[in-house]
Structures are given as structure tokens and as C-alpha cells.
Amino acid sequence: MSTAGTIRIVVLLTAVAGLEAACRSGLIAPFSIVPPSAMLVSAFRILASGEYTADILATLGTVALAAVLSIAVGFAFGVILYLFPRLKRAADPFLASYYAVPSFIFYPLFIVMFGLNRWPLVAVAFIFSCVAMTIATIDGFLNVRPILRKVAQSMHLSRSQMIRLILLPAALPYLFTGIKLAIAYAFIGVIAGEFIQAGSGLGYRIAFAYESFQTGTMYGLLLILLTCVVSVNTVLGVRERRLYERLNR
């Protein structure tokens, strides 16, 4: 393992052990934070009981749906804006200021439009994450080295071949970043939406446990959520590293 990796694990373990010690010694009231070991036990109990399984799966499903939609639509927007520079120039100020708008203010509106079900969550996560993919796509295409286009031109590539064979692979690192961001934002969107207003789902259950002082359950659910997010991120990270190993000079 690399030195950085060792340091990372040591820091993490120290923090967890410190928290455990602080909780056990009574320095931190069990009412606010339960010891990490108890979180782990609680998480296993939650998973074993099956009581929350439907909520967890529903939330993951909603996140997946929102992420796939965001990536597909965000990518398509990116391609369109790249192909029509005038359109892009018109859209630039909106793209630049997009994340200044707190997207969640539209969540109540989506509930009114779609009803209290999965779709307002998909919608709010979608508007939150889609533009990240669009911006990454445009950046990726704009950063393709001009010389590669010149080579393509000297080989008589058609417009579609140019996109498929040159622009897409050359922009891949950027697209990957877009995909990672879109998934992270989809998680945030869905969980935050469930926190605000929902009748089921992991975020709803966490908020419910918080409000009904079930501290142990709340931390167990948080741990499960964190594990999901970290796993997805790790898988993507490994794929990304392989990609960079090949491309980096």
C-alpha cells in the first residue's frame, strides 16, 4: 500500500477510535452521538430485520433513475450546445449561474405536479445533477486538442465519425468526471428531497428516526447510506484510475 493510503487509514482509524473512546467515556452524550461500534451493530440489525430494506432499495432505485436520466439528458444537452456554438453562447450565462439557484426550492412545486411519490424526487435530483453532466460534456469537447481534429480532417472523417472516433474518446476523462458528479448530485438530490417531504425512503427514515429520538437507528441508517455512496464512488474511482493510467502522459 502507498504511504498516502497508509496515512489515510491511520487517520480514519484514529478518528473512529477517538470517537468510540469519547462516547464510551461519557465525554459525548449517547443522546447526540452513539459510539461507532453501536452504529455498526445498529446498521447490521437494520439490514437483518428487513424492516428498512424496501426504503433502502426504493431510494437507491430513485437515485439510479435520476442519475441515468441526468447523465443521458445532460450529455445530449452538452453535445447539442457544443454543435451549435451560438446556442451555447446564449446558454452560457445560465450555465455559469445555474448552481447559484438552490434547486430544492422547486421540490414543493414538483410534489404539486407529480404527487407525493418517487417522481418529484427524481425531478429535483435531475435538475440538480443534469447540468453538471452538461458542463462536463461541453468542457470535454472544447478541450480536445485541435491537432487531433486536424488529423481527423486530413483523414476525411465525417462529422459523425469525428464525434464517435475522436471527440468522444478524447473527452472521456471529462465525461467520467461528469458521470461521477451526476451520481453524487443525484444522491444529494434524492436524500435531501426525502428529508424535506416524503412518505418512504432512506432519507425519510433517517429524518423520522432523528425526529423521534431513535439515535441508534438514525446512525445505523446513516452508516448504510455512507457505505452505499462510498462503494459507488470507489467502483467509479477504480474505473477512472484505469482510464488515466492509459491516457496520462
Binding site: V151, S154, R246, N248
Partner: protein
């Protein structure tokens, strides 16, 4: 290497290839070339090139030297069909070049133009895969080109694993696979160190002999031009025109060791005499 021999011009019966009075076949002919970059918001129109005439003889090695900014690369773009002249015409094998790179013309650029997501073999095969050629033939032609460029042992390597010189060879291999009858090189060794440059020059000479292609080399290195070429065209400061075209009279079978011969110094000195004033002009113009 019969696989890489250039196809005979008889395969293009409709083209008319002009002959110089002294018996040389004209492969590329540029007449009255002018390139003016139009005005933009913060720039006045800029005449980058010409008017300029250039005839390349079939199978010759022609180098262009000139002060920086004199339009050498613009000239190459126009000959390649990568750019359109403001005035004048270019013809390749008797047919006009109009806004597209003609079949039979290969271009190698100064910048690293390898595709980082493809390995050496796929990089070299990129152009030929876009044509209707059988898998076996692709494999054969790519293998030949990689052998010629000394890359046979690196077919599965990615550009990131190669040195700058080797990446440039990948680009040359990618061009050779297409069996060009005219190879245009825009400062292909500009980013390489001096030793690598000399050796790459020798390799280029060998490829030139083995393929029989006509070569137009743009370079800012006087030595490189003198060393490699049958003829050296010396360009003026912007707008670039030819102020002299010098015959080196080297034997076809030559390599970088001719640098130690007496006539190398003579040719080099003659080119520099022509170029010095122009380079000064260009320096004063830009400072």
C-alpha cells in the same frame, strides 16, 4: 518493401502530369498562391503568404526553410488541402486540390498527434480502417509500417508509454500505412532533442528511398534542410515567397554523415546567406 511502394501514376489515367523542360515529372504544382487571413474584431487583415509558385518533382525531397512567421506552415496547409488559398491554385498529380486532403497525400504534424486512447497498432491502423480494406491487409500494412518505423516491438504500447520521438514515429507510421505518394511534414522533429532529430532524419531518408514518395518538409533547422533535401526552398519574411531554391546534388543514398563533407558547409552557408537578412527583418518586425 514492395508493400509500401507508391502506386504508379498510371492508376490515375484521367490525371495529366506536367513535365518540366529538363525532364522532371511535376508531382505538385502551386501557382500564384496567396493566403490572407481576414480581419477580425481586433486584427487587421494579414497577408501570411505569397504570391508564391512551387513545383515539386516526383520523388524528390524538398525542404522549406524560412524565418519564423513567414508562412511555412500555411504553405503546407494549402498544399495539403487543409486550408484554402485566397488566390492561386494547387494541383497534385495534375488535379486541383480543393479544400480537402487528396488521396495519396499524407500529413505529419509537429505536435504530438497520436491518439492517447489507442495503442500503437490501432493508432497506426486508424486511417486505413476507415477504408474498404480487408482485415488481413490492414494487419499486413500496419505491421510493415511499424517495422519501417522501428516500432514492431511496441504494437501494444500506449502513446503515454512512449518517448516523444517514438510518438512522432507512430504518426509517421500512421501516414505510411496509407501509402502516400506525397508526404507533407510540418516540423515533425521540432519537439525532439538534437541527437534524436539527426537519427530521425536518417530514418526519414531511408523511408523516402524505400517508399519512393515525394517529400515536402517544413523545418526551421538549416542543418536539417541541407542534410536531408534534394532541393531547399528559402522563404522570405512575411508574406513568405521563395527567394531562392538551392539544389544540393546529394546522392539518393545518403545519411547524416554527409554533414562532415565540404560541400555540406557550402550549401549550408549559401542558405544562411539568403536567410540571414530575412530572419533579421522578421525579428525586427516582431520585436
Amino acid at each position: 518493401m514492395p508493400q509500401l511502394e507508391r502506386s504508379e501514376s498510371s492508376s490515375h489515367p484521367e490525371s495529366v502530369i506536367p513535365i518540366e523542360p529538363n525532364g522532371h515529372q511535376i508531382h505538385v504544382s502551386a501557382k500564384g498562391l496567396v493566403r490572407i487571413f481576414p480581419a477580425t474584431v481586433n486584427r487587421v487583415p494579414l497577408q501570411a503568404l505569397g504570391p508564391l509558385d512551387l513545383d515539386l518533382r516526383s520523388g524528390e525531397f524538398f525542404s522549406v526553410v524560412g524565418p519564423s512567421g513567414c508562412g511555412k506552415s500555411t504553405l503546407l496547409d494549402l498544399v495539403a488541402g487543409l486550408g484554402k488559398p485566397t488566390a492561386g491554385t494547387v494541383s497534385f498529380e495534375g488535379r486541383p486540390v480543393m479544400g480537402a486532403v487528396p488521396d495519396g497525400v499524407g500529413v505529419v504534424f509537429q505536435e504530438d498527434a497520436t491518439f492517447p486512447w489507442l495503442n500503437v497498432f490501432d493508432n497506426a491502423a486508424f486511417g486505413i480502417r476507415r477504408q474498404k480494406v480487408s482485415k488481413e491487409e490492414i494487419h499486413e500494412r500496419v505491421s510493415d509500417a511499424l517495422r519501417l518505423t522501428g516500432l514492431s516491438g511496441f504494437t501494444n504500447a500506449y502513446p503515454a508509454q512512449l518517448s516523444g520521438g517514438m510518438r512522432q514515429r507512430v504518426c509517421i507510421a500512421r501516414t505510411l500505412v496509407m501509402r502516400p505518394r506525397l508526404i507533407l511534414l510540418d516540423e515533425p522533429f521540432g519537439a525532439l532533442d538534437q541527437q534524436t532529430r539527426l537519427l530521425m532524419g536518417d530514418e526519414l531518408l531511408r523511408l523516402w528511398r524505400e517508399t519512393g514518395a515525394t517529400i515536402l518538409l517544413i523545418t526551421h533547422s538549416l542543418d536539417e534542410a541541407t542534410l536531408l533535401s534534394d532541393r531547399v526552398g528559402v522563404m522570405s519574411a512575411r508574406p513568405g515567397r521563395f527567394i531562392d531554391i538551392i539544389e544540393t546534388n546529394w546522392p539518393r543514398d545518403r545519411d547524416s554523415r554527409i554533414a562532415s563533407s565540404a560541400s555540406f558547409g557550402e550549401v549550408n552557408a549559401r542558405i544562411w546567406t539568403q536567410l540571414r537578412d530575412e530572419s533579421l527583418k522578421s525579428m525586427q518586425g516582431t520585436s
